[in-house]
Amino acid sequence: MPRSKLFSSASDAVADVPNGASIAVSSFAGPGGMPHFLLLALWEQGARDLTLIANTGGLTMVSGLGSPGGKKLIDQSILVESGRVKKAIACYPVYPRPSIVTPLEQAVRDGSVEMELVPMGTLVERMRAAGAGIPAFFTPTGVGTEVERGKEKRVFDGREHLMERALHADYAFVRAWKADTMGNVVYRQSSRAFGPVMLACARVAIVEVDDVVEPGDLAPDMIVTPALYVDRIVVRPKDGALITAEGFRQRAPRM
């Protein structure tokens, strides 16, 4: 009988995250795919000097962007806002309208967070390379722009390309739809996005799911992330209200 990778709580699943860890957070941008409960647990756990890897710098907590009912749900901003992030690697770090300033934009302006801005296709491909044992690859993306700074350039097929390096994460915090206890994972519709590649590139891959099921309950042809990529599973509280930015700010961290 396969052993279960199910953890009893998000707090247990993130208990060993050390200061200085790099953490890949899966949401594309809105609340879909956002590992709300892992993020809150890490905020409570207290780890500092984190490197965040994510598509955005956290847009929903200040703006409610894409949130049903206009709720402002928490996102990775809770870690930035509380001073626990030293570096962010992202593609879409700030709110499109300059009038809305996210905690990450504020922190970059203050100089308290180092920002590495990466084209989206390059970011996901760098994580894919890390999971796939490819130390470096060439891409046409970013040639002739600020992104090429410090990178090797090389012509293939008459066109310049940049050499990009694999990007590993220490932890992945990924929200998915369902997992079986062995760690096979499926995602719901458009929220697949960054989830699978983040689980594959992380040394410790943690998935936060709506439901956990038994091995065999997910059709083997439908499994998106096979079990070997998943180390820990936590289930989102069924009756727990989603954590809103307002609710979060009323909490005190139990550090």
């Binding site: 593609c91 046409p140 993306t141 040639v143 458009s190």
Partner: protein, 232 residues
């Protein structure tokens, strides 16, 4: 001064951009005016919209009450299910873009140069910008069309001999659709394989003259022999 003259509204620019979408095309729309283009595709055309979060083929947007946080596009518009739709991850979404499987991308712009250089990711006045998927699109999509206002909020030209803002890509734009003109980048979009030959004014908004458009443009416009009014 031409500033006060009536220009096309955002919907009209989007409608003109939608006419660039051939039947059967795989299309990616950027945030802003481009996202509006999807509603102007005629029903008899099959266009497969592609989104960076991993969606192919979406149609109408979801109304209030139908919104599902797990059914959005990269502009965070809520979608509804359509037959033939598929979901995949963002790695696959960018394989499609970089691999040349997206036929056309319509993007917004801060500036476009006469060589087809595009600047659309950072205002110099802002410490941080959003690259998002734009650099991959301009590197990988087969054809890049810009849809934007012709001038910025201070009425400064956005079509220039050279971009002064940080660029998204070089020699990538083929066509510029604005609220007063449609301009072709001659031999544009080859990303260095051919040297672009400058800008060709092809269409003008109703009521606008070539001279008025040239006055709001920071690069020299050649004029098409078959210059005509923008048709929507």
């Amino acid at each position: 001064m031409t500033t006060g003259k009536p220009r096309l509204d955002r919907e009209a620019v989007a409608a003109r951009a939608a006419r660039e979408l051939p039947d059967g095309a795989v299309v990616n729309l950027g945030i802003g005016i481009p996202t509006l283009a999807s509603q102007f595709v005629p029903a008899e055309k099959q266009v497969l919209f592609h989104s960076e979060n991993g969606v192919l083929r979406f149609g109408p947007l979801a109304g209030p009450g139908e919104q599902d946080e797990d059914l959005i596009n990269a502009s965070l518009q809520f979608l509804v299910p359509v037959p033939g739709m598929s979901f995949f991850d963002s790695v696959a979404a960018f394989e499609m873009i970089r691999g040349g499987h997206v036929d056309i991308a319509i993007l917004g712009a801060l500036q476009v140069s006469e060589r087809g250089d595009l600047a659309n990711w950072r205002l110099p006045t802002r410490a941080v910008g959003n690259i998002g998927g734009a650099m991959d699109l301009v590197a990988g999509a087969k054809r890049i069309v810009v849809a934007m206002e012709h001038t910025d909020n201070d009425d400064h030209p956005k079509v220039l001999s050279d971009c002064t803002y940080p660029v998204t890509g070089r020699q990538c734009v083929s066509l510029i659709i604005t609220d007063i003109a449609v301009i072709e980048v001659m031999d544009g979009g080859t990303r260095g394989r051919l040297q672009p030959k400058g800008l060709l004014l092809r269409e003008v908004a109703p009521g606008w003259t070539v001279e008025e458009i040239q006055a709001l443009t920071g690069a020299r416009l050649h004029v098409a022999s078959d210059l005509r009014e923008i048709q929507l």
